[in-house]
Subunit: 344 residues, 4 copies
C-alpha cells in the first residue's frame, strides 16, 4: 500500500485554508504535517475553526518554524503580495499550489497594472502553470508551482473557453453578470460583510470593469482567440456564504454552444452539463467540487445565455487546488473530492 | 379638516394586500372599510397576518358581501385572470387600482400571447391607465382604473425610459439582468420558495426571454421609441424576501446617461440618483417607496451600466398603488409613503 | 400649530442612531438639528447610511462643534463609558435620553461590578430615571435624564414585572432563555458577526449568568419583590438582524398569569397580548415599536411559559427612546411610532 | 476485497432520503440498488434533487416494484404511519433502519396517545431496537429492525442520559430549550416554512409540552431512572436550514456533570466535549455526523446548563441511520461518516 503524502498548508486561518483542511481530512493519501498562521501561531486549529476540532492536526506555527524537508506538497493560502515573497523563499524543489493571485498573470506589466505594484518573484512566475485543471491538465501534472485561478475567473472561463476555441460567439460582445457569496471575500472584517449589513441585501461591486479577475479573462481569452478579447464583467454580492452563479450573455447559436459544451466536458469528472434550456443553482453545488452549466437560447434570434454555478471555496479555490495537487503528486485526480453537495 | 377616504382592499390575504394595509395604517386620509379574502372570509386579519394584530380592521369578507356604495377607492390585489372578472363586476364609477397583470397590456393580442387566454374585460382595459406614476402622472390623476405595473417591469423602466426618450442608447442591444427577492412570487406554496430550498441559494428563472414582464417592456419601450424595441431580460431569484436590483447593460455614453437621469428625475419625490459611479443596494430601499439609481461607465468605451434598486412590495407594487391612489383621490402624492427604509 | 422640537442625536453613525433618524424622519413634531459621529465628522449621513439619503439632514459633526442652546432634547447613542463622560459635560438643563448602559443602575457598586470600573458621572446618575416606559411613565414625564434599558432587559421585564408584582410565581426558579438578532451587537467588526460566520448558525453567548443585562433584572425584580430576586438568563445569537424572542419559564398558574397580563397591559398602546396558548414570532414585530406576549401552560402542572417578542432596535432601544422623548416633551406618547411591522 | 452491500432507500424524495444518498455516495462498502418515491416513480433522482445529478443512481420506483431479494439493508425514510404498514409487508429477514417515528415507542399505548391511532405493526415493534447508537450499540449490532430516534430526542438525550444514569441532577426540574433549523420539518409545503415567512424570524412551536419527541424523552429517561421522569421541552424554529442546538437547564454540579460527559463519551467517535465553560454552535457541526457538547455553571449555585449542537439531518437522522446500518452490516461504525462540517 502506498505511503500518504506529507502536506503543509500556509495560511490555515483563512477560509480557503480551512476548506483545504476539511477536504484533506478524508483524503486517503494525504497527511497534514504542518500548518501556518502568523498571527495565530501557537494556537490549535480547534480554537480558530471549532468545526475542525475532531481532527488531529498540527499546532499552528509561523512559516519560519516549519521544516519543509519531508513535505511533499505545500498549499499557500496566503494574501496576495505576501504569497510571492513566501514562495520565493521556500525550497526550490518543493511542489507548491498557490491559491493567491500572485502567479496567475504571465505578463508582469499586467500584474503591475491590476495589482498595483512590481512583482517580487518573477523567476517563480516564469515556471508557474495556470491552475484551471480542465484546460491545463498536462502542464499541471508536470508543474512544480501551480497558480490557482480566481474563483470568478474560473466560473467565467468554464462558460467561455470552449466557445472561443470553437469560434462560436461574437468576441466583442460578451457580458458576464456574476453573483457571488460572501466567503469569497475571506474572513475580512468589513462593514458590508457583517450579517446585519448583508443579510437580505444584494449589490454590485467592482463595477465598471475594475475587478481584478478581469486580468485573467483578458489573458486567457486573448490567448485562445489569438487576438485581444475584452469582456464586460460585473459581480454582485449575494446574501449567501458560498456559491457563484454567472449569467454569461453571448451572441451565437445556443444549440451549437450546447453541443460544444457536451463535447468539451464529456470526460470531465466535475463538470455537469444540464439538459438544454435548464439553469443551475448555487444550492446544488454547495460544499462540493462540482460545476453545473446550462445553456438557453434567448427569444431574440442569435443570442444565448450560459449559466455556470460552482462553490467558490471548493471548485473555485480549495477544491481546485486539491484537484491540481492530486495531479502533481501522481494521485487520482478526483481523490478526496467526490463528496456530494450539501442540500438543503 | 377633510374627511378621510373610504378604502376597500380585495385580496387582502396575500403579500401585496398585507403591504397595502401596512402602508395605509399610518395614512392620515384613508380608512380601510372593507377587505376581502375568499377562502379566509370570516377570519380576522390578525389570524392571517399576525403582524397587523394591533390594527382595528374589518373582518375578512367575500367580495359579494361587500357594500361598495360608500367606498371611495378599491385596491384589487387579486390573482391574474381573477382580477379582470371581479373588476368587470364592480360599480362602473368606482375608482380602482389593480395590482394584477390584467390591465397592463393595451393590445389584447399581446395579453393573449403572454397570459395564455382571451381577456374577459376588454371594456375595462380600454379605460385603464398604466400605473408607472412618474411617467403617467396626469393620466393617473384623471383615471378611474389604474393598472399597477409588474415589479420587474417598473425596475427596468426606471432605468431605460429616459434613455430611450432622449435617444442616448443603442435600442437593439439592451440587457436587463435582474435579481429579485422571493416575496414577488407571493404566498405560493412551492418547493423552490421554501426556506430550506432557497436560503443560501440563487438561480435564474423564466430564462430565454419568457418572463411575462417582457410584454410590458415591449409595449412601453416601443411606444417611446416609435419602433419595436425588444430587450433581453433574465431574473434571478435571491435568498432574500424583499428587494429587486437590476444591472442594465447599454451601449451609450455613461455621463450623458447620468445627466439624463438627473434631469428626468429632478423633481421626483421617490427616485434618488446616486453620485456618478456608485451602485445601490436592495438593503437601502427595503420596506420603503424609494428607488435608487446609479450609473457607471464600463472600461470598454461606449458601454454603460445602470443599476436600479427598489422594494418589490412597496415601490414595485403596493407603494406604487398607494401613490397612484393618492393622485386619483386628489391627495398629496407622497402621503403615507415617506417612511424611511428599514436598515439593518 | 405647535412648533416642532429641535433634536440632537449624538452617536448617529451606529445602528441605534440610524434607527432614531429613521423614526424621527416621519415624526411630525421633531426636527433633527444636529448629529454627531466623532470619527465620521464632516461626512454626510448618506455616506454612512445610504438608506437615509433621501432625507435632508445636518452634516455629521464632533460633539464639541454642536451648539446645544436651541436643542430641546438630545439622544445619546454613544458607547458605554463614553456616554457618561459626554452627558456630564452637556448643559445641565438639556433634556437627555441616553441609550447606553451608563445610567441604568442606581447602585454605583453594581455598576462597578458589571461594567468593570468606577462611574464618572454619579451626580447625573442620581437624577436618571429608568426608561422602561410602561412602568416609569410618570417619572419619565418629569425627568431631565432618562436611561434607556437594555434590549434584553426590556424583553424579560415585560414578561416578569406584572407577575412578580402580583406574587404569581416562584421567585427562586425563573429561567429566561432569550434569542436575539445580531444588530443588538451594533456595527462592531467581529468575526462572529460576519455573514459568513453567523448565517445558518446559532449559539448561546455570555453563558453562565454573565450577561450585563442581568444587573437590570436584579435591580428591578428585587425592587418589585422587596427581596433579592436572581434569575437565570442565557441569550442565543440568531442568524437574523432584528428581533428578540424570549421563552420565560416560571412556576405558577398559566391562566392567572394570562389574566395578570391582560390587566397590566390593558391600556398600553404598544403591548399586545396574544390569545391564550399562542406564541409570538420576531417576524411579526420587525421594524416596529410593538411587543407581542403569549402565555402557555406546560403539560407539567404548575408550570407556565411566557414568550415575549420585540424588535431590539425599536421597542428595545430607539423606539423606546423616542417614546420616552415624546413624554418628556409633552407630546403624544405614540407620535411617530405607529408604523406597522414590516412583513414579509 | 469485501463485496459492497446492496442498499435500498424507501422514500428517497424527502430530505432524509436525499441525505442518505449524499452520505452513501462516498461510502466504500455500500451500493444503492433501489430507491422508491411513490408519487415520483419513474423519475430520475437528478430531477427531484439536482444536487445529486453527478451520481449514477437507480430510477425512482414504487415500493412494490422493488425486488428485495438481493438487498442487504433497507432504509425507510417514509412518513409516520406509512412506515409501519410498509415495513410489516417487507421480507421478514430484511435488515431495516427506519427513520420514522413508528417504532420508537415500546409501549403501544404511548404510541396511540402521542401519534393518535393504533399501531398496525406491533409484531415488528416488538423486535425494534431504539437507534441512539451510543447507548444501544450492542443491541443494534444484533438487530433486524432499528428505529431511528427523533432529531430533537437525540439532542436532548445526549445531554441528559449520562447525568440521569449517574444520579447527578434533580430529575423533577429539567428544561430543554431547543432551537432547530427548518429541514427537520421535511419538504412540507406550509406557509411558516416559506423563505418569505421564516427568514429573519424565530418562534417557538409545539409549546406547552405537546411535541411528540417528548414521548421518547419520557420513555428513555424513565427507563434509566427507574421512575417516571418528565421534562419540559420547547422547540423554537430558527431561520436556518440545518442544525439543532439545545440549552438544557439542570440542577446539579456543573463540574461533576462535565466529568460525567468526559467519561461517558471518552471513546465515542462522533461526540466532542468542549472545554469546560464553552458552548457549541450549529455552524460547527453543519453537514456532519459530529455532535458538540458544552457544560457551564450558572452564577446561581447548584445550577448548570448543558448545550448540545448537532445537524438534524445527519447525526439527528440520516447520519445516525447510516451509523446504525454500518453496525448491523458488520462494517466499521464510522465508515462514510467522517466528513468534516461545512463552514462557512
Amino acid at each position: 500500500m502506498a505511503t500518504p503524502k506529507n502536506i503543509a498548508i500556509l495560511g490555515a486561518s483563512g477560509y480557503t485554508g480551512a476548506e483545504l483542511v476539511r477536504l484533506i481530512a478524508t483524503h486517503p493519501m494525504m497527511n497534514i504535517v504542518a500548518m501556518s498562521a502568523e498571527r495565530k501561531a501557537g494556537q490549535e486549529m480547534a480554537e480558530v475553526f471549532p468545526h475542525l476540532r475532531h481532527l488531529d492536526l498540527p499546532t499552528l506555527a509561523k512559516i519560519d518554524q516549519i521544516d519543509f524537508s519531508d513535505v511533499d506538497l505545500c498549499f499557500c493560502a496566503l494574501p496576495h503580495a505576501t504569497s510571492q515573497k513566501v514562495i520565493a523563499s521556500l525550497p526550490k524543489a518543493l511542489k507548491i499550489v498557490d491559491l493567491s493571485a500572485d502567479f496567475r498573470l504571465r505578463d508582469p506589466e499586467e500584474y503591475a497594472k491590476w495589482y498595483g505594484g512590481q512583482h517580487d518573484a518573477l523567476e517563480c512566475q516564469a515556471e508557474a502553470v495556470y491552475g484551471l485543471t480542465e484546460f491545463y491538465r498536462s502542464q499541471i501534472k508536470a508543474a512544480r508551482l501551480v497558480a490557482g485561478t480566481g474563483c470568478n475567473a474560473a466560473t467565467g472561463q468554464y462558460a467561455l473557453r470552449p466557445l472561443i476555441a470553437a469560434e462560436l460567439i461574437d468576441l466583442d460582445d460578451i457580458i458576464i453578470d456574476l453573483k457571488t457569496g460572501v466567503s469569497g471575500a475571506g474572513r475580512a472584517l468589513k462593514e458590508p460583510f457583517l450579517h446585519a449589513e448583508l443579510s437580505e441585501g444584494a449589490f454590485p461591486y467592482a463595477i465598471g470593469g475594475t475587478h481584478r479577475h478581469l486580468a485573467e479573462f483578458d489573458q486567457e481569452f486573448s490567448a485562445i482567440a489569438g487576438r485581444p478579447v475584452k469582456v464586460q464583467f460585473t459581480p454582485t454580492l449575494l446574501p449567501a456564504n458560498r456559491g457563484i452563479i454567472a449569467n454569461v450573455y453571448v451572441k451565437g447559436d445556443a444549440e451549437a454552444i450546447f453541443k460544444a459544451f457536451q463535447k468539451a466536458y464529456a470526460d470531465e469528472p466535475f463538470i455537469e452539463i444540464l439538459p438544454y434550456g435548464q439553469a443551475p443553482s448555487t444550492r446544488h453545488v454547495r460544499g462540493s467540487n462540482y460545476c453545473h452549466i446550462g445553456v438557453t437560447a434567448d427569444r431574440l434570434s442569435g443570442r444565448a445565455m450560459i449559466v455556470v454555478a460552482l462553490d467558490n471555496l471548493t471548485k473555485g479555490s480549495s477544491g481546485q487546488a486539491l484537484q491540481n495537487a492530486n495531479l502533481m503528486l501522481g494521485l487520482p485526480e478526483d481523490m478526496g473530492l467526490l463528496s456530494a453537495p450539501v442540500f438543503p
